[in-house]
């Protein structure tokens, strides 16, 4: 089964307007795959019929649901181990040297999905910056992803994806068929809904901003706008981290810090101006 061109255009337009995420024409399969479960749950015939009902209604919760379904991304623990090596080996030592010990380290995990990224950051910082207060602001556009992140419970399949066994033993307890994160780790993360095209979330200025595998979904103009907003809440001397496999230009205002294979950036004089 496929979806009609009209359905794709409507959904792509809706998602772009509400999140800035661009669904290119080759993403038709994605629209169908992500909306099919909703269609089944409601008991409708197909994706086309479902989208027709949205077309006739004013923007509401059902429209938000579509945007969420199309913008929730794959995630795993310590995604890009090199990124975390850069965090632990360079970023944290530099910040510890630069900042007063009494000041909390503030991190923004932008596009945090179901919480694996912000929680991985906490686990890494507990080792790399012992005794430091850490405050993680974790944001995503999907309420469902945020709900799961706040719950801090993960299936065995999710646990298998990238979580070192030593971290599992130290920070998780078995809860039925799932694994539950310790209160120590969970208490350091504040989840909130946020659209990257809006004013940045409270909790900053941030010493570190994780923006991993987010920019790739935006067109160049939207990328610039997101980066401008990100820069406005990055503390002086702070660091921006992108995904290690992301090959993306961040523009003139940033300098790449040549450390390992991670994509680490700092604001330069032009960006600060």
């Amino acid at each position: 089964m496929t979806i009609s061109a009209g359905t794709f255009t409507f959904v792509a337009d809706l998602v772009r307007r509400c999140s800035g995420v661009q669904l290119t024409a080759d993403k038709e399969y994605l629209v169908e795959a992500r909306l099919q479960p909703i269609v089944r749950q409601i008991g409708l015939e197909g994706v086309d019929e479902y989208v027709d009902t949205l077309r006739m209604a004013p923007h509401g919760a059902e429209h938000d649901r579509v945007v969420e379904a199309l913008t929730t991304n794959e995630t795993s623990w310590f995604r890009d181990f090199t990124t975390f090596q850069v965090l632990v080996g360079h970023v944290v030592p530099a910040l510890i040297q630069d900042r007063e010990a009494s000041r909390p380290l503030r991190v923004w995990s932008a596009g945090c999905s179901t919480g694996q990224e912000p929680y991985s950051i906490v686990m890494a910082l507990l080792d790399a910056a012992p005794g430091r207060t850490v405050e993680i602001t974790a944001t995503d556009i999907s309420q469902e992803a945020l709900r799961r992140g706040r719950a801090g419970r993960y299936s065995q399949l999710e646990i298998n994806r990238g979580l070192p066994a030593g971290m599992l033993v130290r920070h998780f307890a078995r809860a039925g068929t799932e694994w539950e994160l310790s209160e120590e780790v969970r208490s350091k993360v504040t989840f909130s809904r946020h659209n990257l095209l809006d004013t940045p979330p409270p909790g900053g200025p941030f010493d570190i901003i994780f923006l991993c595998y987010v920019l790739i979904y935006f067109d160049p103009e939207t990328r610039r706008e997101v980066l401008r907003r990100v820069r406005s809440v990055l503390a002086p001397g702070g660091f921006l981290l992108l995904g290690a496999a992301e090959v993306i230009g961040v523009g003139d205002g940033w300098d790449r810090v040549p450390i390992g294979r991670g994509h680490l950036y700092q604001v330069n004089a032009r960006g600060a101006a």
């Binding site: 795993s76 623990w77 310590f78 995604r79 890009d80 181990f81 090199t82 065995q156 399949l157 646990i159 298998n160 994806r161 990238g162 070192p164 066994a165 030593g166 599992l168 033993v169 998780f172 307890a173 078995r174 290690a244 496999a245 294979r261």
Partner: protein
């Protein structure tokens, strides 16, 4: 890179070996810990071993303990791949000397992510 798959289930050995093959490993197989130890003693070398826990003759935990006690294969990375999913069992495996632990059932990307953590894959493949 060479990998040794140790499992008493031929089907499971093939599944794990296929995943490792896809990731670029040359793979060998052993039906239990004793067979695997025989291969090591005969001078075969491996970068990583994926080890089932419950096997006849010599189980995975005994194999890991035996490898670690001998100090002859310090570069061999040991990953327990098992249906045992209690926290205490993960603790026991790590205490015996396992480097990593994967609970069955698992997806190919889960194994890839663990190999990535252990530095046994290039970054692009550990995503």
């Amino acid at each position: 890179m060479r990998a040794l798959v140790i499992d008493d289930s031929r089907t499971m050995r093939r599944i794990v070996a296929d995943i490792l093959g896809e990731l670029g490993f040359d793979t060998s197989q052993a039906g239990n810990g004793r067979e695997a130890l025989d291969m090591l003693e005969a001078g075969e070398t491996f970068d990583v071993a994926c080890i089932d826990w419950n096997m006849p003759v010599m189980d995975g935990l005994e194999f890991i303990a035996a490898v670690r006690a001998r100090h002859e294969w310090p570069d061999l990375t040991l990953i327990m791949v098992t249906t045992e999913g209690e926290r205490d069992q993960v603790v026991r495996a790590l205490a015996a000397g396992a480097h990593e632990y994967i609970m069955k059932p698992f997806t190919p990307d889960a194994l890839a992510s663990k190999l990535g953590l252990l530095g046994l894959l290039p970054v692009e493949e550990s995503l």
